[in-house]
Symmetry: C2
Subunit: 213 residues, 2 copies
Amino acid sequence: MALDFTSVEDAESILREVWDLIDIVEVGTPFIIKEGLGIVEKIKKEYPKLTVLSDLKIMDAGEHESKAAFESKADIITVLGVSDNATIIAAVTQAKKINKEVMVDMICVEDLEKRVAEIDKLGVDYICVHTAFDVQATGKNPLEELQKVKKILKNAKTAVAGGVKVETLRPIIKEDPDIIIVGGAITGQKDKRSAVLKMKEIMKQAEEQKNEY
Amino acid sequence: MALDFTSVEDAESILREVWDLIDIVEVGTPFIIKEGLGIVEKIKKEYPKLTVLSDLKIMDAGEHESKAAFESKADIITVLGVSDNATIIAAVTQAKKINKEVMVDMICVEDLEKRVAEIDKLGVDYICVHTAFDVQATGKNPLEELQKVKKILKNAKTAVAGGVKVETLRPIIKEDPDIIIVGGAITGQKDKRSAVLKMKEIMKQAEEQKNEY
């Protein structure tokens, strides 16, 4: 679950409501920018059993920024796929030293297949296909990209983000991504707990169907 | 002058030393990530006459992130040239409402000339050619890119960043950029004030030479 457009107070309240149902809490870019990395440390301290994803979208200064993120106790950090390989490699080097993970966010990468093949050789843990918030209104969603990426990857695991909601969850699960990131479809609902439960039910059904075959 | 890899304490001390010599103070990406946007507001409050550049490197959620940055009293904010046009346009829209400015950072843009021509039509105030910190060790510097961009721009002003120092300043000034961003070549020096004075002297000489012709 991603916390993007939220105050510290609202984030705390959302986490109290759903923390036992989720695996990963993502501290989103707008939230980090507003509060600084202290908010990542605070959340990890309060929920030590949750994996904390720090969505820094690192574009440069890979060593310095990933170090700072890991010092604030993030378990996974994001680097942009449009950044230089040197930046991605620097973040991976920091992560490997302390057994933490790097996710590369493929948002706005032009030649997705070519870039995925390159980045897959750099030792990153996850490749995340991500439809930008600013283009979700066009109806674009990350499913097709996930299918493409799945065919190419030899090393990294997959994550998917960008407007995922109850209605779009089933076909995404079918592609078997390792992480599904959901933001507004939980945090924007009045009853957040039942939104998560609904999604988990869909995931469970999909799992059972898979096991039947 | 850019404040990137610094503590709040060191930033305050650097500003006390050189504030009267500089025009713009850039609150760099790693500094914002660490401290949150509160640090931008703090610096603007302490130095209201300095233009404050908030180097957010916005990649998505252009409306929300630029709003947050302008609420923290930034005068100029950065958006990434690799982001979607929708993101750049959203930031420009916010800026124009309150008479503030948007700089687009061309770091890691592959087809620079094509993308500059596109972005120049979106109403942005500055196009910044920027050699990534992580690739400066290869000897790359932003001069050649500045020359290319200058030939294309019809609307936006120019900025240049990425490893600019005393030794590389003259040829850059010759290209007449509107903003020259210097980080480590000031903040990494023991005597920061004399580093700035040396650069200003070079700028003055270049100006005089230009006026002679």
